[in-house]
């Protein structure tokens, strides 16, 4: 089993006890809220900056380039420089735009992605809130982001933006189904919707191995559908820079644009983290039955390293999609969902139910 020294529960509980000893319980809750909020804000900003940097480096290597290399060693501070630039830029007010909604939209997008992060189990004992319907919550919250995109497209009084927003709406509503169904596969396997329970259930093997073919199938379907849901890769129709210049955020500038940009990358992290948690064992190390020595070595790697390692592998795959494929057309995109992904997913669910019922998976 995973080593106790890497568990964050000792740290968190000691903070809790320390606070409890000096102040009233309601004040403790409030303080903890504030601490968690600040930690997540910092994490959010740093992660977003890092992901942008990572994407630029990955695509540069794929395209025989060097990528950012001016600010700092290997261009490490390039994204920070970009952020400072975006902060200093003018916020252009759009003529005849719906001012209130126009300003509200970036916040909706960023808050929803922020909320989804709260339920993710990052490491043993490091989870802000462990809901008993964790998957359901994450899915529900992350699909709220489309509301922000729709509002952004509608309120900015631009024809390109409106088309982009409408595309995005159609896309996310349909791909939501596939994402849900492929996640349902693991819910059936593990018999729980609580993220911590799902992770615990993978202590002796990840679901992608234990669930063999149907789980692998669900994983692939999830990857495709999730890429579509975050408006990325070959499915970036809402932005589609060669058709709609920049889609729904055409009219945004400065930090408001940065919010959309950041939210897109955080959403990528969220879907990768969900895939990690559900299919690849979350923060669980790689264990192979019977190889005791190997398993023990794996245990020495901290759980947080496992989690982020797996997440970034999936993030790399999503980036790999984007930098390889041409963009789909809107009708083909919907065809792919309704004619291919959804039927396959439904078949897979039936298959999994049988597998679980007969007990054909590795326990």
């Amino acid at each position: 089993m995973i080593l106790e020294i890497y568990s964050f529960s000792t740290l968190t509980s000691s903070i809790d006890e320390g606070l409890n000893s000096v102040m009233a319980p309601w004040l403790v809750t409030l303080t903890e809220f504030v601490i968690v909020g600040i930690v997540f804000l910092l994490f959010y900003a740093l992660l977003g900056l890092f992901l942008v940097y990572l994407e630029r480096k990955v695509c540069a290597v794929i395209q025989n380039r060097i990528g950012p290399n001016r600010v700092g060693k290997w261009g490490m501070f390039q994204t920070i420089a970009d952020l400072i630039k975006l902060l200093m830029k003018e916020l252009i007010t759009i003529k005849n735009a719906d001012k209130f909604l126009f300003n509200l939209a970036p916040f909706i997008v960023i808050i929803t992605s922020f909320m989804a992060i709260a339920a993710l189990p990052f490491a043993k004992g490091l989870q802000a809130i462990d809901l008993n319907i964790g998957i359901f919550y994450v899915m529900a919250v992350s699909s709220l982001g489309v509301v922000g995109i729709l509002i952004a497209g509608w309120s900015s009084n631009s024809k390109y933006s409106l088309i982009g927003a409408m595309r995005s709406g159609a896309q996310i509503i349909s791909y939501e189904l596939s994402v849900g169904l492929s996640l349902l596969a693991i819910v059936i396997f593990s018999g729980s919707m609580q993220l911590s329970t799902i992770v615990e259930s993978q202590a002796d093997g990840w679901w992608i191995f234990k669930g063999h073919i149907p789980a692998l199938f669900a994983f692939v379907l999830y990857l495709i559908a999730a890429t579509a849901e975050i408006n990325r890769g070959p499915f970036d129709l809402a932005e589609a820079e060669s058709e709609l210049t920049a889609g729904f955020h055409t009219e945004y500038s400065g930090i408001k644009f940065a919010f959309f940009f950041l939210a897109e990358y955080i959403n990528m992290f969220i879907v990768a983290a969900i895939a990690t948690t559900l299919f690849l064992g979350g923060w669980m190390p790689l264990h192979i039955g019977g190889w005791e020595g190997f398993n023990q070595i794996m245990d020495y790697i901290p759980s947080i390293v496992w989690f982020f390692g797996k997440t970034f592998v999936i993030i790399y795959i999503i980036m790999w999609f984007k930098w390889t494929f041409p963009r789909l057309r809107i009708d083909q995109l919907l065809n792919l969902e309704w004619k291919y992904l959804l039927p396959l997913n439904l078949m897979n669910i039936v298959l999994i139910s049988f597998v679980v019922l007969i007990g054909l998976y590795f326990k």
Binding site: C59, I62, Q63, N64, R65, K159, Y160, I163, P234, D236, A240, E241, S242, E243, L244, T245, K322, W323, T324, F325, P326, R327, L328, R329, I330, D331, Q332
Partner: protein
């Protein structure tokens, strides 16, 4: 409201959802404005607006001598500048009945094919990018750089090398020219499978281009669509075959024809043409004579005998024609450039009709328009 009035309201022009693609738009590849009238995402009709970089080249050419106006033709289709130069040079040489050395003809043909490959490289890159495959851009540019390096070594400039002059070339090619051309052919043959795997065989790419913007042969001829776009509709319009100039009657090559007439056929024509150009290059480089000078003897001031001269060549985008009217002076009396992109542009409207915006972008990319070539 009665039925008539309702109809009127629905069909009212002001109610149309009109978006202006361009003059600054990533997929119009220059200052072209497409006024697209939409119904949802479906294109109801599309009107191109041009003239944003009209420089009056035909008027300017009336005040330039035949040697001076060569540099103007560079600035039309800047991606195959050499071929445009050659058209004017051939027209003047034919008018004066000057025999240019065989070596010059070979060098010109090699440069033609190199320009064509470089131009198709850029088109391939940009077409991939139009469809959202961003990596193609860098792979295409990477390979194009090799061609440009050859140009730079011999002519000192990469894009607008006014290297032709009536009677021959400005100066001799670099001693390494032949070697580097051979190296490029070898290099690019190795890279062609990447092109195939990355885009040509891709299922998403097939879905985006197959059956999109179908133009039959009749339509292509009627609209005067030439070059790879015309040959994608089965219109045999390769000037190198139809009216051979230079040494093109001495080399063996295939005119690429695809009868389908959709965007994918146009794509295939260009990709196959790159390969065919490599075959031509191999033959030309082997046969190119070592001796023979680089220019015929020409008078310092060229005066064309009175008359009208028409010369056409196969540029990378289609048939490039020069029509010179001379009154026996050192300046042309009237000069007309028949540029391929000008004719090719206007089929975009009929082809895009009924498709959606993404199709419009795909068709526009597959026609391979160069805007300065349209505006002149």
């Amino acid at each position: 409201m009665n039925e008539e009035a309702v109809k009127k309201v629905i069909l009212k022009e002001d109610e149309d959802y009109i978006i202006n693609m361009g003059p600054q738009h990533p997929s119009t590849h220059g200052v072209l404005r497409l006024e697209v009238c939409l119904n949802g995402e479906t294109v109801k009709h599309m009107t191109p607006h041009i003239g944003y970089i009209h420089r009056g080249m035909e008027k300017m050419a009336e005040f330039n001598t035949y040697k001076q106006l060569i540099h103007l033709t560079d600035r039309m289709d800047y991606l195959s500048a050499h071929i445009n130069n050659e058209a004017v040079c051939l027209a003047v040489e034919n008018a004066l009945e000057v025999e240019v050395p065989e070596r010059v003809q070979y060098i010109r043909a090699i440069l033609d094919e190199l320009s064509r490959v470089a131009s198709h490289h850029l088109w391939w890159s940009a077409f991939g990018m139009d469809l959202g495959a961003l990596t193609t851009f860098f792979y295409g540019m990477r390979d194009r750089e090799k061609v440009l390096a050859i140009f730079e070594e011999s002519f000192g400039s990469r894009l607008l090398h006014s290297f032709n002059t009536p009677g021959g070339l400005m100066h001799d090619v670099h001693p390494n020219f032949r070697k580097h051309t051979r190296e490029f052919v070898k290099y690019f043959r190795k890279k062609l499978p990447d092109y195939k795997n990355l885009l040509t065989d891709n299922i998403i790419f097939h879905n985006r281009t197959k059956g999109i913007g179908v133009m039959d042969k009749e339509m292509a001829i009627n609209y005067g669509i030439t070059g790879p776009s015309g040959r994608g509709s089965g219109f045999s319009c390769d000037v190198r075959k139809v009216a051979p100039y230079g040494v093109y009657d001495k080399v063996v090559f295939r005119e690429i024809l695809y009868p389908e007439g959709d965007s994918f056929a146009r794509y295939k024509v260009r990709v196959d043409e790159m390969q065919e150009s490599l075959n031509i290059l191999e033959q030309l480089v082997d046969d190119m004579p070592e001796e023979g000078g680089y220019t015929a003897k020409m008078k310092p001031v060229i005066k064309l005998p009175e008359g009208e001269y028409f010369q056409r060549v196969e540029a990378a985008r289609g048939e490039f024609g020069v029509f010179i009217v001379s009154k026996g002076e050192k300046y042309p009396y009237r000069i007309k450039f028949r540029s391929p992109s000008f004719s090719n542009l206007f089929v975009l409207g009929p082809l895009a009709k009924g498709g959606i915006i993404a199709d419009l972008v795909a068709i526009c990319g597959s026609l391979d328009l160069v805007i300065p070539d349209i505006d002149r």
